[in-house]
């Protein structure tokens, strides 16, 4: 990981967050057993395409028509997978721990939208992207996904191996100052 875990600029504070529990769950997202176990684990309903229901560290993100990302505190992952296995036994699904395969960042501040807008080919106008939505995309030269924790805060997830690149990219983008667009 980057040596400094937090960098501050007038635009936004970029923070490398600690490990977060993440489970890749593939299966029939319309199946009642799957919905039930996801609700039991996170308290959230299955989000619509392009959306995530995340409160603090816990929630669900829609990854693809047959894939969810379940987020929860890191320590709860093994028990959660056991619960999924028990609940979905006999059906076709896949649940794997990917907590250690990911890195998570927070970009917080008045310029957060522009920090992301410098790096991602995404329309981040407030009418087009707001809390509740979830976007998998390209950030610089890596794959990333993000959602908004609140109106001024993005949470960004990428692969662990490129965590340094992601942190430095976000930091450079924030440090360069505002564009004055959003």
């Amino acid at each position: 990981m980057a040596e400094a875990m937090q960098k501050t600029s007038p635009m936004a504070v970029v923070t490398a967050l600690g490990p977060r529990g993440m489970i890749t769950l593939r299966g029939d997202l319309a199946a009642s057993k799957l919905k039930a176990v996801c609700k039991a684990l996170t308290g959230a309903d299955i989000p619509a395409a392009g959306h995530a229901t995340v409160v603090k560290e816990t929630g669900l993100a829609w990854m693809s028509p047959d894939e969810l990302l379940i987020m929860l505190p890191h320590a709860e992952v093994p028990a959660a997978i056991a619960k999924i296995d028990a609940a979905l036994k006999g059906s076709h699904y896949l649940a794997v721990d990917v907590s250690d395969a990911r890195a998570v960042f927070r970009v917080c501040g008045s310029g957060a939208r522009e920090v992301m807008g410098k790096l991602c080919p995404v329309d981040l106008h407030p009418d087009q992207f707001a809390p509740g939505q979830f976007r998998r995309t390209r950030m610089g030269q890596i794959a990333a996904a993000f959602w908004m924790r609140d109106a001024a805060t993005f949470e960004v997830v990428c692969f662990r191996s490129v965590a340094d690149y992601a942190f430095d990219l976000l930091t450079v983008s924030a440090k360069a100052g505002p564009v004055g667009y959003y």
Partner: protein, 999 residues
């Protein structure tokens, strides 16, 4: 002389002087000046030398179309060549140097080329330097390189920073002249998201210079009120110093924003490259005035008519005391009127038209300016600046009627709409006979995803040169782009103009001696005579003529020269201009910085580097890294004073004798799960994977549908419907995508899910005779004995304090455990192994030791033994191809005649007779030579190493009928002319019975 007038200058602030230097000379200008206006205010008429003949060159334009005024700007880490003086804003401390001369701008030895110009016609380089062939490399090229090039390439690294930005809008309006403002106003009023950009620092374009009335207001007043209206609209954004550089597919537009160039080096990004996605793009990019082709039209002091009055009105700079205006249209009369009104002398307006009578003509005459109708300029007199013009009849051959002393010439050949951005993505042009110009053809726009035109040209850029028509057109374009019905836009009042008359050469029947002095392309020194020569030599295509003559190939990309050159070509070919057509307009509109293209991608962010959980430890412990895809893997861990080779050999030896650790985290790990997972893997691998028992491992091969070996790795059966597939380091993402492709696009009813868990685990190979002892010492209770966990099996359990999955697999031929732990614990596990292993002599080893050990065992490496043309059968891997399966990816291809050819080169081991190492990539030669006179070949080396275990050079290679030729000698020529001889042997050099790995 050129000088600053006592009054005037819309842009400059006389209370704020600015100091700058040109060629070391300290000069002063004002805030608001461009470098061009400041130089002219200091009577610096000569600004550069042309590319080929080193002719003296002065400023000819006032904007982005300037071909001559290119300078080296800045110093050291802020140095940049080829910067246009007309678009460079002046700031305190600006340092500029002129280009393409030696030893000085005033006295340049290269100018001798001009004397030789008779011998340097179009195509000279092609004709001259083709023979003899051998001269090219040693004589011609060094000479040309030394004398070629305008600006100097920067030598220092760029101290500035750059960034990108993505924006999405409904309507992007490019150009902030009155047309762009009107278009943005219309679209903004419709409520859609609008971005309006202007390449200069000023809004309104050239309108305030000519000052038409708009909606009853003066031009500047209307511009300001419109700006205010736009600023008040929350759905509209406006930005200056931002150029529309290129228009691409589906409304993708590259825009180039210059953030600090006008104030000099500062912190923060210098340029920002915008990647705008627009539903509709309006190009309100205006028009560019055309030069006239008369002899001596390149002498400093000859300038575009509108540029001359721009310098007066915008900067309070007069280019000359006595200016002759030469024109084929009414607009240039405005220059005469502006100059006269400013108190300067206009001895004559030379109008090529026989009887001009328009409002502006009358106004000029009323000011007492002499108008010579039906006349042209026979030649311009003067060297480094204009001293006089010689008049002639336009209809004649150039007989001089009269000489008029003057120190400036204002020329106007009419106007060409700036159609570049319209054309970038396929917008077509139509020839406007009346305006003698190409204009956008509204019926053939570039089309977007919806099949409709997504670019709308507006105003003068759309061929509407009269202000009232331009405004109406632009306002309508804004409404159309916003998807609303047309309403009434602003109206304008300006003097009516009479039609222009096309004049492509002056005089019409000029003799060759004059045509050799008529410049089309000022920067590249292309003359009327050059284009005519090209036509005579058979160049009919405008694209070929461009390359043959270099017309329009300079940094200005022919903004001034293209139409004039085209007209000369069409005349020479006897074909109408539209049938000759234009060259291709390519982005960017004007050059943009390399830094802006790179954005943040430099230094540590140049590309993502993938790091394993133990990367930091490797860095701290002498690792030399090698790239494997985007990963960095330790090649070897050097100890104090050790050479890399010594380190590699030590690592091999220590692993074979004691125990070594390899960071194998980068290996791909794909979970494949589902009721049909076995069936699926049987299709993907050449082996049978469905029958693999739970708890066991199997080495597998994957082929493309062409049958070529694509990836390999060990597959572990996790439970009844779950497999874990290891891929090569570089193959993880590719094979994951490959699996998803087949599952999504071919066998979509099969119940299989795949997840890429490569980065979830840190994986360490614990390798060597003491591997078991080391792991047992860590404790945790796992039974790692040969009986409980034999070779090619796996088990879950605890190793020390770590949850681990342990695979008994070996890529080295030694007793080996590959242990996977969660990535977050990888570093702790690695350090625990090193601590516990100290008593056993544990050492980490890198990829080179790994490669040597696998080669000693005859294990193939994807990328070494394979190159995309190799099938498993070539590599002695037929044992890994199931004979029981009806199908697998690549099976049909393996039955093709070329694949079953017994003469395919096959894998063998190679042992040099003298113990040396065969050079990598060496070919084995056979008798005779081929049609090219080269030795025939019978094989090649695929991997070659000095084996520290065997103390000799070993290699693997593909040899014709190799496996049937054991013991035979083959010869490998080396690049130094000598050869090395090797014996064909089994590729398994070490422990052929496998006792060690099974132990």
């Amino acid at each position: 002389m050129s000088t600053r007038l006592a009054t005037g200058g819309r842009f400059i602030d006389r209370s704020q002087p600015r100091a700058f230097s040109f060629n070391g000379k300290r000069l002063r200008g004002y805030a608001g000046d461009t470098l061009a206006s400041a130089l002219l205010a200091n009577d610096q008429m000569l600004v550069g030398r042309s590319f080929k003949y080193h002719r003296p060159r002065g400023v000819v334009a006032a904007g982005a179309e300037e071909p001559n005024g290119l300078v080296n700007l800045g110093k050291g880490q802020h140095f940049e060549p080829n910067q246009r003086v007309t678009t460079t804003e002046l700031f305190d401390g600006l340092e500029a140097e002129s280009q393409n001369h030696w030893p000085s701008l005033e006295f340049d030895v290269g100018a001798v080329n001009a004397r030789l110009s008779r011998f340097l016609p179009a195509g000279f380089y092609y004709k001259m330097f083709i023979h003899p062939r051998s001269f090219w490399k040693h004589i011609y090229e060094p000479f040309i390189r030394a004398s070629a090039g305008l600006g100097k390439a920067p030598k220092s690294r760029d101290a500035d920073t750059y960034e990108h930005f993505h924006a999405h809008v409904d309507v992007l309006v490019i150009g902030g002249g009155i047309s762009g403002l009107a278009a943005a106003l219309a679209a903004g009023r419709a409520g859609v998201r609008v971005l309006l950009i202007e390449q200069t620092a000023h809004w309104g374009g050239r309108a305030p210079v000519d000052d038409p009335q708009i909606n009853g207001l003066g031009a500047e007043e209307w511009i300001n009120s419109t700006l205010q209206a736009l600023e008040e609209m929350p759905n509209v954004q406006i930005r200056t110093r931002m150029m529309g550089a290129g228009v691409y597919d589906h409304g993708s537009v590259l825009c180039y924003e210059q953030l600090t160039d006008h104030i000099g080096p500062k912190d923060g990004p210098r340029h920002r490259l915008w990647q705008v996605r627009a539903d509709r793009v309006i190009t309100a990019t205006g028009a560019i005035e055309r030069p006239l082709s008369f002899a001596g039209n390149d002498v400093p002091g000859v300038m575009l008519a509108a540029a001359l009055r721009d310098f007066v009105v915008n900067f309070g700079v007069s280019v000359g005391d006595r200016t002759v205006v030469v024109t084929n249209n009414d607009d240039a009369y405005r220059t005469a009127i502006v100059l006269k009104t400013a108190g300067l002398d206009v001895p004559c307006i030379v109008d090529a038209r026989p009887a001009p009578t328009g409002e502006l003509v009358a106004e000029a005459r009323a000011l007492g300016i002499r108008v010579e109708a039906g006349k042209g300029i026979a030649k311009v007199k003067g060297g480094k600046r204009v001293t006089a013009v010689a008049l002639c009849a336009q209809a004649g051959e150039g007989a001089v009627l009269e000489e008029i002393p003057c120190d400036a010439v204002a020329m106007s050949g009419g106007w060409s709409p700036v159609v570049h951005l319209w054309s970038h993505c396929g917008g077509k042009l139509t020839w406007d006979e009346a305006g003698a110009m190409f204009r956008p053809d509204p019926d053939r726009p570039p089309t977007g995803a919806d099949g409709e035109g997504f670019v709308l040209a507006a105003g003068t850029a759309n061929g509407f040169l009269a202000t009232s028509e331009a405004l109406a057109d632009a306002y309508a374009a804004g409404q159309i782009a916003a998807g609303i019905k047309k309403g009434k836009g602003p109206s304008a009042l300006a003097p009516a103009e009479e039609p222009m008359a096309p004049v492509w050469m002056m005089p019409q029947g000029a003799a060759i001696s004059l045509r050799e002095k008529m410049w089309l392309d000022y920067q590249n020194d292309v003359k009327v005579s050059d284009v005519q020569l090209a036509a005579r030599e058979g160049y009919e295509s405008v694209e070929h003529t461009k390359r043959y003559t270099t017309l329009g190939m300079a940094t200005d990309q022919g903004k001034l020269s293209n139409i004039n050159g085209l007209a000369i070509l069409s005349d020479s070919l006897g074909r109408p201009i539209p049938s000759v057509g234009t060259t291709t307009f390519r982005p960017p509109y004007t050059p943009i910085s390399m830094g802006a293209i790179a954005g943040a991608a430099r230094d540590g962010l140049f590309q993502p580097i993938r790091k394993t959980p133990m990367h930091g430890w490797h860095e701290a412990n002498g690792a030399e890294f090698e790239p494997v895809g985007q990963w960095r893997r330790p090649y070897a861990f050097r100890r104090n004073g050790e050479s890399t080779e010594a380190a590699v050999h030590r690592e091999v030896k220590n692993t074979r004798d004691a125990v070594g650790l390899l960071d194998a985290s980068t290996l791909g790990k794909l979970i494949v799960k589902g009721p049909d997972a076995g069936k699926f893997l049987d299709m993907l691998y050449t082996n049978m994977m469905s029958t693999l028992p739970v708890g066991k491992c199997r080495y597998g091969l994957m082929c493309s549908e062409n049958g070529f070996l694509s990836d390999d790795g060990v597959v572990a059966r996790i439970d009844e419907d779950t497999w874990l597939c290891h891929t090569t380091t570089g193959g993880a993402d590719r094979i994951h995508a490959w699996m998803e492709d087949w599952l999504q696009c071919e066998w979509w009813n099969w119940k299989v899910y795949v997840a890429n868990v490569t980065e979830q685990y840190a994986q360490v190979a614990v390798v060597g005779p003491k591997a078991r002892m080391l792991l047992e010492k860590l404790g945790g209770g796992m039974d790692l004995s040969k009986e409980a966990l034999p070779f090619m099996q796996w088990a879950d359990g605890r190793i020390g304090d770590f949850d681990a999955r342990v695979y008994r697999i070996s890529f080295s031929g030694e007793l080996s455990y590959e242990v996977a732990v969660p990535a977050g614990q990888g570093l702790a596990f690695w350090e625990a192994l090193l601590a516990a292993g100290e008593e056993f002599g544990v050492m980490p080893y890198g990829t080179e030791a790994l490669h040597i050990m696998r080669a000693e065992k005859g294990f193939i490496m994807i990328g070494d033994e394979t190159d995309g043309t190799i099938i498993p059968q070539d590599l002695g891997l037929s044992w890994a191809i199931s004979k029981k399966k009806d199908d697998y990816l690549g099976k049909r291809a393996h039955q093709r005649p070329h694949m079953t050819d017994p003469n395919r080169w096959k894998l063998v081991g190679l042992e040099t007779t003298d113990g040396s190492v065969i050079p990598d990539g060496a070919y084995a030669v056979s008798e005779g030579v081929n049609d090219n006179g080269q030795r025939n070949t019978q094989g090649r080396v695929t991997s070659t190493y000095m084996s520290p275990t065997l103390g000799r050079g070993i290699a693997m290679g593909l040899i014709l009928n190799g496996p049937d030729r054991m013991g035979e000698l083959v010869e490998f020529p080396k690049i130094d002319g000598t050869s090395v001889t090797a014996k064909i042997v089994s590729p398994v050099f070490y422990d052929p019975e496998g006792e060690k790995q099974n132990g």
